[in-house]
């Protein structure tokens, strides 16, 4: 098997605070192959953004502590000098952020901002960067790019700005594109367009994509493989079919149960996972999810479940329940009303 594009090994990211050390990411490992789309799913504070910000080395907080390694194309990014890391950022690994309204600098034209990145990583003649920027704007579906290139970010709508952000990210043909909740700040119709765009461009540019989201519905369509994160750890990992049709971790069941679905009888109300995520300063003993887990039993309190393959073939989960128990119980969480009628 070929070497993976990105390999994260036992990454831990903590922040020193007045209340103690916050373990935002607590020992996660995963790999990403070239051209693959990996979805990272979890609720706010589960460590998904921090993980990918760490890959980009974009965390500027002076109180941050790292452990572990991030191997990109055989090089450990954690060990790179600032200048070497700059070469990687934007050129090899690019990132799209959550809020397109604030992610572009308001005082420069969008063309200027794309050209700035092109010039940073390539030796281009004066007109070349501009032509390329115009091409990119056309590729991400901005109408009349030859006029829009001289517009400022505030003259674009949210969806159009996110398109500009995507153009910016793809400008240097990155091998890895990290999209950090790229559709969260957009309304639903625009969300679908942006996802479609990322999907198409991924094909065109051949980049691998890491798609961070709290919405399983978003990754359902795009991702090849999915990581489910909870409280700074991976609780389940598998390909799309495995996660959606044979989910193993009760937290994944909860996430699946929280999706509003049109192809099922309408529930009286949307279900949610009860309770709050645990404190990342004082993690509860045993399984981190047990405080919110309706299935929790004695062993969950005593022993921290490890991420292991129980159903085989790259499908990992961190839960003490036996596979049979899980398969029997999960419909109640994912779709209680359907389970009742059945």
């Amino acid at each position: 098997m070929a070497e993976p594009l990105l390999e994260v090994r036992d990454l831990k990211v903590s922040f020193r605070t007045e209340d103690g050390i916050v373990r935002a990411v607590d020992g996660i490992s995963f790999t990403l192959d070239e051209g693959e789309v990996l979805g990272i799913v979890g609720e706010s504070g589960s460590g998904k953004s921090v993980t990918m910000m760490t890959v980009m080395r974009l965390i500027t907080d002076p109180n941050v502590i790292y452990q572990g390694s991030i191997i990109y194309k055989g090089r450990d990014l954690m060990g790179l000098s600032r200048d070497a890391m700059r070469e990687v950022r934007g050129e090899e690994i690019a990132m799209i952020f959550q809020d397109p309204m604030t992610s572009l600098n308001p005082v420069y034209t969008v063309g200027w901002q794309i050209e700035e990145q092109l010039n940073e990583h390539n030796d281009l003649k004066k007109g070349q960067a501009r032509r390329r920027a115009m091409e990119l704007l056309a590729q991400v579906g901005i109408p009349k790019p030859e006029q829009r290139i001289d517009d400022y970010p505030h003259q674009f709508s949210g969806g159009m700005r996110q398109r500009v952000m995507i153009a910016l990210a793809l400008s240097c043909n990155p091998d890895l594109l990290i999209a950090d909740e790229p559709t969260t700040a957009l309304d639903v119709t625009i969300q679908a367009q942006i996802l479609e765009l990322i999907k198409n461009l991924k094909r065109e540019f051949g980049s691998a994509v890491v798609l961070i989201t709290h919405d399983l519905g978003v990754v359902a369509d795009v991702a090849d493989r999915i990581l489910v994160m909870y409280a700074g750890r991976i609780v389940e990992e598998g390909n799309k079919e495995q996660i959606f049709y044979d989910p193993q971790h009760p937290y994944t069941w909860g996430l699946l149960g929280s999706i509003a679905r049109l192809d099922r009888p309408r529930a009286r109300r949307l279900t949610a996972i009860a309770g709050q995520p645990p404190s990342l300063i004082n993690r509860p003993q045993g399984c981190s999810f047990r405080t919110r887990c309706p299935q929790a039993f004695d062993r969950c309190r005593a022993e921290d479940p490890q991420l292991t393959a129980k159903v085989g073939d790259g499908h990992l989960d961190a839960c003490h329940l036996s596979v049979e128990d899980k398969r029997e119980r999960r419909d109640k969480t994912i779709n209680p009303e359907l389970a009742e009628t059945a």
């Binding site: 200048d83 950022r89 952020f97 308001p106 990145q117």
Partner: protein
Amino acid sequence: MLAFIVRRLLWMALVLFAISVLVFLIFFATPGVDPARQMAGRNPSAETIKSIKHEFGLDRSLPVRYGLMMKHMFITRDLISYGSHTRVIPEITSAAPVTLSLVFGAAIIWIVFSILFGVAAAVLRGTVFDPLLMILALIGISIPVFWLGEVVNLITQSRLHDSFLFSWVPPLGYTPLTQDPFMWFKQLIFPWLTLSVLYIGFYARVLRANLIETESEDYIRTARAKGLSERRVLFRHTLRTSMITFVSLFGLDFAVLVGGGALLTEVVFGLPGVGLLTFNSLTALDLPVIMTTVIYAAFFITLASALVDLVYAWLDPRVRLA
């Protein structure tokens, strides 16, 4: 653009008119204020006061008096001071270059040093230099300019004047730039430094706060994600957007100083500028001079605020008019 300029000029005329009416009313329509009595000297006879009133047109109705004063100020340009009985307009035009020289020089110094200190403090945040620079800035803001000026004079003109350090410092006063540029510079260097200390401190603190605020903006993270160097992120992204507040403050402070706000520095260093003129006219209740200096100051302030708006639009495309 043309519409903006025309609108601004009309606005300026309106502001100047309003200010002139207000100042006129304050000094003429306020009970107990009688310039004629003031001019007539000690124990004047009713006759003398009456003749003075007539001579200066003080016995006419208020609107007529206002109209006459404006006519003398702007049309015939022969407004006469009540105090010195000289023409006011030449007094202003000879005082203005002094103030302009003082304020321009000080402004250059304060812009350069406040940006230097503000950026240094923001970049060195987390080290001991940041609080050190900010304490220094606070001291600069807190030192009264007249005290600092006197101390500077004491050192350069008296105590250490004979040492090699300050033997080149000329006596206090002003030499026009056109007459002897080197002398102009030597006489103004200490006033410049003294006047700029307060502003360096103030602007450095404001700039540092703005830089730190901008640093946490999403688009700065984007700039880093693009792989730009820290230097480029700082100067092209963080500093550029932080300058917006800086520029608006600068425009107004500069205008206030040109309009006579540098009074204390002018007095301490014996510079016959607009501030000194305003101060003297206020103590003597010399209305024509007060009126002229106020209008002169108002002119610069409205002009500066128009210029600030222009620069602001250049710095921040979001406020540009379509």
